[in-house]
């Protein structure tokens, strides 16, 4: 199910939490919604789920606005977790399954199947409060999957999980993608986002500052960087016209190139100017792009 977010704006008092936000999430695609704290990510997710209503703009699901049928096809994993601590794992899963439109029997069967696939079947009758924090995190993830949703919206899905369970959840998310589900993830873990997401929407102060596939972003960002190690006076490198900025870190020198600079020619000029013991072209990671973009926007 395709989600189209079209120029949505949300204001709280006089603050614009989200402003003219537009992007699309296609089926079989994982979209990463990135941004610093207070960027408006959670507000955006809440608007998509119809928990909050946008002041302006529209959100369409396969061209339709949110209805009960669509709501029943959406799974949501909020950022901060917690379930009914006194109640049994199976009862809580069945309850949320039923709220999503499953009948009791189907909900029960799905709950058992999911618990089994996440090696939690032994905890079926346990009160949630008796489970470890990691187990509770996994259970919360299962709550969002109990009804086999077409749309999955997750706020920090890997947060609080140990590496083993992170892999388990990541694999599950990727398998859901294979199953043509529409997945939107909001996360701070950029390395994981890089490995999972096909498309990124980076927002800051409610506005989109960058969006696209990783390749598109890199291309748009086009912030090639050359790392150099030399014993000579590095100030000589400032004379090279295509170098925009220089940063020093011990013996390493980070050279930021101009957008239209030729990497090959610049490298040649560097070698000519100073005695280089090491020279390396560094392609920016998502994290670099994120940090640099936020920095630029803030400046």
């Amino acid at each position: 199910m395709k989600i189209e977010i079209n120029k949505i704006t949300k204001r709280f008092k006089n603050i614009e939490a989200v402003k003219d936000l537009t992007f699309t999430v296609e089926p079989g695609q994982i979209v990463g919604l990135l941004g610093p704290n207070g960027a408006g990510k959670t507000t955006t997710l809440r608007m998509i789920l119809n928990i909050l209503r946008p002041d302006e703009g529209d959100i369409f699901f396969d061209g339709q606005t949110m209805r009960r049928q669509i709501r029943n096809q959406a799974g949501y994993l909020p950022e901060e977790r917690g379930l009914y601590q006194k109640y049994k794992v199976i009862d809580v899963l069945v309850y949320f399954g039923r709220l999503k439109g499953l009948n009791y029997r189907k909900s029960h069967v799905e709950a058992v199947r999911l618990l089994d696939s996440f090696q939690m079947i032994d905890y079926l009758e346990e009160p949630i409060g008796h489970l470890s924090k990691g187990m509770q995190q996994k259970l919360q993830f299962l709550v969002s999957l109990i009804h086999d949703p077409e749309i999955l919206i997750m706020d920090e899905p890997l947060w609080g999980l140990d590496p083993l369970n992170q892999e388990l959840v990541k694999d599950k998310i990727l398998s859901l993608k294979e199953g043509e589900k529409t997945i939107l993830i909001s996360t701070h873990l950029l390395t994981d986002a890089e490995s999972m997401c096909d498309y990124f929407v980076m927002i800051n102060k409610g506005k989109v500052i960058l969006k696209g596939t990783l390749e598109q972003i890199r291309k748009d960002f086009y912030q090639n960087m050359i790392i150099v190690e030399t014993n000579k006076n590095p100030e000589l490198l400032r004379k090279i016209p295509k170098i925009k900025d220089i940063e020093f870190d011990d013996s390493r020198i980070y050279l930021y190139l101009d957008r239209n600079a030729s990497v090959k020619e610049t490298m040649r000029e560097i070698v000519n100017k100073v005695d280089v013991s090491r020279i390396e072209l560094h392609k920016p990671s998502l994290s670099d792009i994120f940090l640099q973009t936020i920095k630029n926007v803030t400046v």
Partner: protein, 498 residues
Amino acid sequence: MKQFLIITWWEFARHFRSRSFLLATFISPLIFAAVVLIPSLYLENTTDIQPRIIGCVEFDTSGVCQDIRDRLIESQFGKFNSPAIQFIPIKTDTSIYMRKRFEELAYHKFEFDSLDDAYNKVKERRKYIFQQPKTPNREALLRQTYGQLIQTRESRDLAQLAYQKRKNECDSLWRVEIVRNADQMLADLRLEGYLLIKPEEFAMGVVEFHSLFPANFLEIEPLQRAVEVVIVEQRLKREGMRVDKIQQWLEPIVFREIQQQGEEKHEFDFLVNYLGPIIVVLFLFISIFTSSGFLFSGVLKEKTNRVIEILLSSVSHNQLVAGKIFGLGILGIFQIIIWYSIMIFLIGLEVINASEVPFLNLKNAGLFLLYFVLGYFYFASIFVGIGSLFSNEEDAHHLNQFMRMLSIFPIVLAILVLEDPNSMLVRVLSFIPPLTPTFMILRTPLGHPPLDDYLISIGIMVVSILLSVFFAGRLFRIGSLLYGKKPSFREIFGIMFK
């Protein structure tokens, strides 16, 4: 609709199985009822079993204590249910010193009486001589006895003065001694109280009752009545009434207290008619606040652990709030049905005699249920709205306590209803929504309010519920996603009236 029913069932089922519900349904009512009933039952039973010993101290020997005792015995005759009072005129076993003083007083009295007697004899003799024909001998005898008369009179007057002085001294000392003796008996718990009769005050209708413990001042009406009878008797005697007639007129009166309840009349019973409705109101209070309390803490917890976001991604705000309110409302009704069942069971076992508790009838059961539903919806919507504004239990706890304190307020005001269930003040208070359920439930068995009062109170409650649900919905919609700082009153009003 389906999701609304699922939430309703979930809220009902999960709280029905909780320990808090069992506690609120079975233990709290027992504690409340015990708190209200035990002191009354204790007082009733203790006075039934053990007669209370009351003493009587009088400062003269007119026999008032004995008269009061006789009247008390007459009034208690045949009344086995009323608290028995054993009334004992206190005789003073005086100290050796007092006995010596009394002996001296007796000597002075004897001396005075003897001299008075001698004086009277001399007077009689002179009278006799005076009536004899005038002779020189008569004149001589008169002169001679005159000297005796003067001398005897002087001696008698001196003896009288001495006697009166001693008597006054003795009386003062004796009064102190007898009161001290009675106080000692009180301190030794040989008496529960004593009447102190001072002749000059008694004539004016004033009698003192002395006791150590507050409880002893209760249930002394039979004694008061007996004292009244004796005082009236004495006054009538002074007015020249015939003693046999007086006793006939002052025969103890049997006072049957019949209360008209609707078209029926029943003997008034303090426990049933006075404490009964208060217990019923306490049950109503427990029921409303068990369910509303669950709702309040439930919303707060769901908000704290963010479950509310998952719920709101599945159902609308309205479905969620309605499901919760209805689910817990059904829980409250179920609680009342459990109490009704226990009541029917106890009536079946004849532990409770339904004919003696006239307000235990189907009509009142229906009214109780109706006012529970109205009260519950009113308070539940307020609780759900307020509960959604807080994001941690500590902040909400103070407000919850405050709300509970406010809700106990109607029970504190219940005394007004007990005094006059249909007074203008009570009627007006019955139409103030937070007080309506309590007041109407109290008024029903006590005052049989007119139909208009039922209709007006129900109408006001329905309008209030609609308003509180409307505002609670607004608060919940915004408040359920509000984390971080506590909203100020200004912000709360802003959300409500925006």
